[in-house]
Amino acid sequence: MNLKKLTAPLLLTLCLLAPIPAQAAGGAIVLPEYEWSFSGVFGTYDKPQLQRGFQVYKEVCSSCHGLTLKSYRNLSDLGYSDEEIKAFASQFEVWDGPNDEGDMFKRPALPSDKFVPPFPNKNAARAANNGAYPPDMSLIIKARPDGANYLKALLMGYDPAPEGFELPAGVSYNSYFPGHKIAMAQPLTDGQVTYADGTPNTLDQMSSDVTAFLAWAAEPEMEERKQTGVRVMLFLIVLTGLLYLLKKRIWSSVH
């Protein structure tokens, strides 16, 4: 294809570009860009960070937000032993049955059980939260645009409301929540949890940690996916290169 052939499309593009370029979208919320160990082609999860994030989830978020797509056994990904997982699961109770007498009964949760949600159903969750529903966290990172950056920004975005901004009772101002009126009171503040590994428990740190944990919760396959991906891409590049050479050779006799 020679250049002349491209003149028509290029010229047309230029004509349409004539109008003024503008900077950022007016009014749209721009999310900050944070550093994540799991972003990029070679990104991986940082296990100590996932454990800290799990601690934040467990001690803070889990009183309102479920994690119902995860099983307790999945925690082995974070480096916990079978014993630790069994012990953790057994703090929760699940319905089972019927037993030989035909009765349903409660028993301690097993590693194979799904995370027990804090509320039995949506209505109970709403009733306990002023009518607002605390969504399940299993997929929250995938269910919001730019999920990881959004979540951390949200947790740190409890800024003072601008003057004259009307907030109904029980609602907080948040710089990153769409509409800025969020029915979740600020869940994290400096010093909220005490990390066993001595990591400083700043709001920034805890927000990063719980975000990383929820990123893992949403995409447990991420490391395997990217590592497989790198190998697949290398293989395809070599294969395609060879096919190209073969193509050139076969076609060299055609004029």
Binding site: A8, T13, P220, R225, K226, L239, T240, L243, L246, I250
Partner: protein
């Protein structure tokens, strides 16, 4: 006894035995080794085989998904997440399938624009072209229903918006929609039937693809010069020349597909579809997948009633008719563009019209992604280009008008008035006369 089972063929042994009863080997030999192909096909001709391969991959991954998927509103979302988390290799299968739908449309759209540029719809390939249009329609239906299966918020609300369109049809509309739903809203019966149809329709596509290829092999491929094969010198056998070229193209295509699957599997999707469907919560913006955006834009461009003497077409029905008309007009394209020269390379005016049309389609895609009352803009090379705050619906209307104007007015007009450049004598001697490109 000289029985006919030993009848002489060029094949011997088991091959000969089978060939005598089922002529597969001579068929393959005929279609691959003796099928003369123009020797000047460029890389735009790779997209047909890519589409075929994509279809096969979609069917294979789809069957594997179906083995683990539950088409019940109470289970569908969780079953997809189980595939993602607990089924061995499930995430890979699902991401291949999910991104495969986008790859399929990308490839098929390029394939169609190739046909538009080089006049591949002109005699004697009208039926070949129309079969392609049937494939496009079937693909759209398949992808639409497939997108409903994971039962996320966009699945549910997309299905609600699109099925509701049929209520615009006069007289039967309301009843038709209830019939489609199998109830009074998109619900379990709808999901179950969509699953059944989503499983079935790809095989219908296979059927039409076979016809598409039969029609193709009758007259052979068109080519960038748009002139017929005149002598042996103009053609080469399909195998090995185009098999290797197609394989090379497949390698490049697989790189793109794999890039999405492994590194950005949700880039082309909408985050809301990771929220389970909830009929009580309407998403802020209901947008279809990118490959439907141009049609969605045309649908929403009709914002006014169209009076037609005795009766009026209301805005909703108008939009629906325009949207289906946008595909419908492709069917009759061979009779709208009757210019004797196929390739745009030799049609100086049509070439501009073609590229302008491409931009209009991209513009329609962008307006489809925006809210109607949002100022129109697009992002190019990191720059946000705005148009004086004019609402996107206005642009959608302009583009829609041009879309149809291109087909029903411009092409018939050009057929009459456009003077083509001198065509080369043959494919192997294109340099004898000053050709266009």
């Amino acid at each position: 006894m000289s029985d006919s089972s030993a009848a002489p063929t060029q094949y011997t042994g088991l091959k000969g035995w089978i060939e005598y009863r089922l002529p597969v080997f001579s068929f393959m030999d005929h279609e691959l080794n003796h099928y003369p192909t123009p020797k000047n096909l460029n890389y735009w001709w790779n997209f047909g085989s890519l589409a075929g391969i994509t279809l096969v991959v979609m069917i294979l991954t789809g069957i594997l998904l179906a083995m683990n998927y539950s088409g019940d509103t109470k289970l569908a979302f969780q079953s997809v997440e189980r595939i993602m988390r607990d089924v061995n290799g499930g995430w890979l299968i699902r991401y291949i399938h999910m991104n495969g739908a986008s790859m399929f449309f990308m490839v098929v759209y390029i394939h169609i624009f190739r046909g538009l540029y080089y006049g591949s719809y002109k005699p004697p390939r009208e039926l070949l072209w129309m079969l392609g249009c049937v494939i496009l329609l079937l693909m759209m239906a398949t992808a639409f229903m497939g997108y409903v299966l994971p039962w996320g918020q966009m699945s549910f609300w997309g299905a609600t918006v699109i099925t509701n369109l049929f209520s615009a049809l006069p007289l039967i509309g309301e009843d038709l929609v209830i019939w489609l739903w199998g109830g009074f809203s998109v619900d379990n019966p709808t999901l179950t039937r969509f699953f059944a149809l989503h499983f079935l329709m790809p095989f219908m596509i296979v059927g039409v693809v076979v016809l598409h290829i039969v029609a193709l092999h009758k007259h052979g491929s068109n080519n960038p010069l748009g002139i017929d094969i005149k002598s042996k010198k103009d053609s080469i056998p399909f195998h090995p020349y185009y098999t290797i070229k197609d394989l090379y193209g497949l390698g490049l295509f697989a790189l793109v597909w794999a890039g999405f699957v492994f590194f950005s599997p949700n880039y082309l999707g909408h985050p809301d579809n990771y929220i389970m469907a909830d009929p009580m919560v309407t998403p802020a913006h209901i947008v279809p997948e990118w490959y439907f955006l141009p049609f969605y834009a045309i649908l929403r461009a009709v914002t006014f009633d169209i009076p037609l003497g005795l009766f009026t077409i209301d805005a909703k029905l108008g939009g629906v008719l325009a949207m289906f008309g946008a595909v419908g007009v492709l069917f009759v394209l061979p009779w709208l563009d009757r210019h004797p020269v196929r390739s745009a390379s030799f049609r100086p005016i049509y070439r501009w019209a073609f590229w302008f049309f491409v931009l209009v389609c991209l513009g329609l895609g962008q307006t489809g992604a925006l809210q109607p009352d949002e100022p129109f803009y697009f992002i190019l090379l990191g720059m946000r280009i705005e148009f004086f705050g004019i609402h996107s619906v206005v642009f959608a209307q302009l583009f829609t008008v041009w879309y149809f104007f291109h087909f029903v007015a411009l092409l018939p007009l050009l057929s009459k008035i456009e003077r083509a450049k001198g065509l080369p004598k043959s494919i192997s001697e294109p340099v004898l006369r000053p050709a266009g490109a």
